[in-house]
């Protein structure tokens, strides 16, 4: 499997883990300028650990939807180019601003990922990738509505949370429905469940149709 430039497997306390180079954020172990990327705290980290070919590359321009307090997006900004981080909730966005202050190409935005017109005046078009981790109902719709930011050969790398769509349904059924809905605008390239790192989550890689 291929990791983007700027993401490496390195040894921390004799354990091999993903790592990126950048200022520490959440007390993660470091090795020189490298800091460990905890796959249990990051769906994208788990996506790499599970071996999906995300198509992400070093210096990619990225729109990150559902940045939360910036744990994962900090690693993305470490290896990627300009990174737009959208988060809807004020509390985690406070930490996200702190993460952005330590990085030169991370742009935090307190916006609703379901309303791309509220940030289309800031986020540029033709991006290389959208990374999506939004815990809201309608995750397929969020991906479809934000497709306008992607370049034709761009990639959607999403973690779908079954319980955000329907707590009562079987996760497998929820995933099938989400994938089906996504087909309206994306070609699905690969999917993988994120167990044991994250329960009831599906990682997927897609490109715009």
């Amino acid at each position: 499997m291929t990791l983007p430039d700027g993401v490496e497997r390195r040894h921390f306390d004799s354990e091999e883990r993903l790592a990126t180079r950048g200022p520490t954020v959440y007390g993660e172990p470091t090795d020189g300028e490298w800091r460990a990327w905890d796959a249990r705290r990051s769906k994208l980290g788990a996506t790499f650990e599970k071996g999906l070919d995300t198509g992400l590359e070093g210096d990619d321009s990225v729109l990150y939807l559902g940045a939360a307090s910036g744990t994962t997006v900090s690693h993305v900004a470490d290896f990627a180019g300009p990174t737009y981080a959208v988060e809807f909730a004020a509390r985690p966005a406070r930490d996200l601003v702190g993460v952005a202050e330590d990085r030169s190409r991370l742009f935090p935005l307190l916006k609703d990922a379901r309303k791309p017109d509220t940030y289309a005046h800031v986020v540029e078009s033709d991006l290389d990738a959208i990374v999506q981790d939004v815990a809201t109902r309608g995750q397929a719709r969020v991906a479809l509505e934000n497709r306008q930011f992607l370049a034709g050969d761009g990639r959607l790398v999403a973690a779908i949370k079954a319980r955000s769509e329907d707590v009562t349904a079987e996760p497998a059924d929820v995933f099938a429905e989400v994938l089906d809905e996504l087909e309206a605008g994306y070609e699905i390239l690969d999917t993988e469940r994120l167990e044991p790192f994250h329960d009831d989550h599906l990682a997927l890689v897609a490109r715009p149709k």
Binding site: P82, A90, R91, A93, R94, L96, V97, A100, E101, S104, R105, L106, F107, P108, L109, L110, P116, D117, T118, Y119, A120, H121, V122, V123, E124, S125, D126, Q148, F149, V167, T168
Partner: protein, 305 residues
């Protein structure tokens, strides 16, 4: 091509260097579609090159987001949520430490007892040696936490009627604050359906029910309201539903207008009288309340519909 799409860009009409206005544009602007903003900014001579553009964008987004966060967090309803969470933390911790004090005191002093009141008595004793000093010190912390909890409650009782006058009147200030905290804010509470408000605080029971492993919870934290707890068991579901309905209306009025509407109180009272009249006894349930309130408080009562 950048010219025709640049019309909506965040940097449109900005003086380079006007950081405050830039942040405002980021926060309040919008566009139908994205465009190659970095190139457009260079074309429009807003920035010398892409790197310079990103530097300005970084400052503008950080400033804008920090301001938006501060505004959202400083909002009074959020302060109210912090107050009630802090009060609950103080009470819980005081009780926990009081148990430790009681256990310890039982082994060292002649005194026996339990609870925060006992800890206060222990705190007042003159220590005889270094070990006893630590025990009394711990007892004093319990008393202090209990005092702080009371001070927080007093502040909630002062602040809640200002922030949510109708909700505080119908629910009482502390329950009003708790509902706001559970919903995530007054705005979120106002947008919640009353069926959600009815079971706020009973999420465990609700999700167990949705998984098919239990009855539907009749009430969450609104159980603490006299109108629910003081109603006969078989009518508590109706009482909780009626109360939740009026509390939801109250939250909406508070969020969208902020004016006090006393007719809500009257409607709730009339509704409760009708529900309680079904038993023919206004407060039939009040004496079977306290004993089993522990299990019912989780909203996990057995006869949900």
């Amino acid at each position: 091509m950048s010219d025709e799409t640049a019309g909506a860009a965040w940097f449109e009409g900005l003086e380079p260097g006007d950081a405050a206005a830039a942040a405002e544009h980021v926060r309040d602007g919008s566009a139908e579609a994205p465009a190659n903003w970095p190139a457009a900014a260079v074309d429009a001579e807003f920035a010398a090159d892409e790197d310079a553009y990103y530097d300005v964008l970084r400052e503008a987004t950080i400033t804008a987001t920090r301001a938006a966060v501060e505004e959202a967090e400083g909002a009074d309803d959020q302060q109210l949520a912090h107050l009630v969470r802090a009060m609950d933390d103080c009470t819980r911790t005081a009780n926990e430490l009081a148990e430790r004090v009681a256990e310890w005191a039982g082994s060292r002093l002649d005194e026996e007892g339990s609870g925060v009141g006992f800890a206060r008595r222990v705190a007042a004793i003159e220590p005889e040696d270094a070990g006893e000093e630590r025990l009394l010190g711990l007892a004093q912390r319990v008393a202090d936490l209990d005092d702080e909890s009371e001070a927080l409650r007093a502040e909630i009782e002062r602040a809640a009627p200002e922030i949510a006058p109708n909700l505080a009147a119908l629910a009482g200030p502390v329950l009003a604050a708790r509902l706001i905290a559970l919903a995530g804010g007054l705005g979120d509470l106002a947008k919640s359906p009353s069926s959600t408000v009815q079971v706020l605080g009973a999420e465990d029971a609700l999700f167990a029910h949705l998984r098919g492993q239990g009855p539907s919870p009749k009430h969450g934290v609104i159980f603490t309201h006299e109108y629910v707890r003081g109603t006969a068991r078989e009518h508590r579901g109706s009482a909780a539903r009626a109360l939740a309905g009026k509390l939801t209306l109250a939250a909406r009025v508070d969020h969208y207008s902020g004016e006090r509407k006393t007719e809500l109180d009257d409607q709730l009272e009339a509704r409760m009288e009708r529900i309680r009249a079904r038993t023919g006894d206004g407060d039939a349930g009040s004496d079977d309340g306290p004993d089993d309130s522990g299990s019912d408080d989780s909203g996990n009562g057995g006869d949900g519909e």
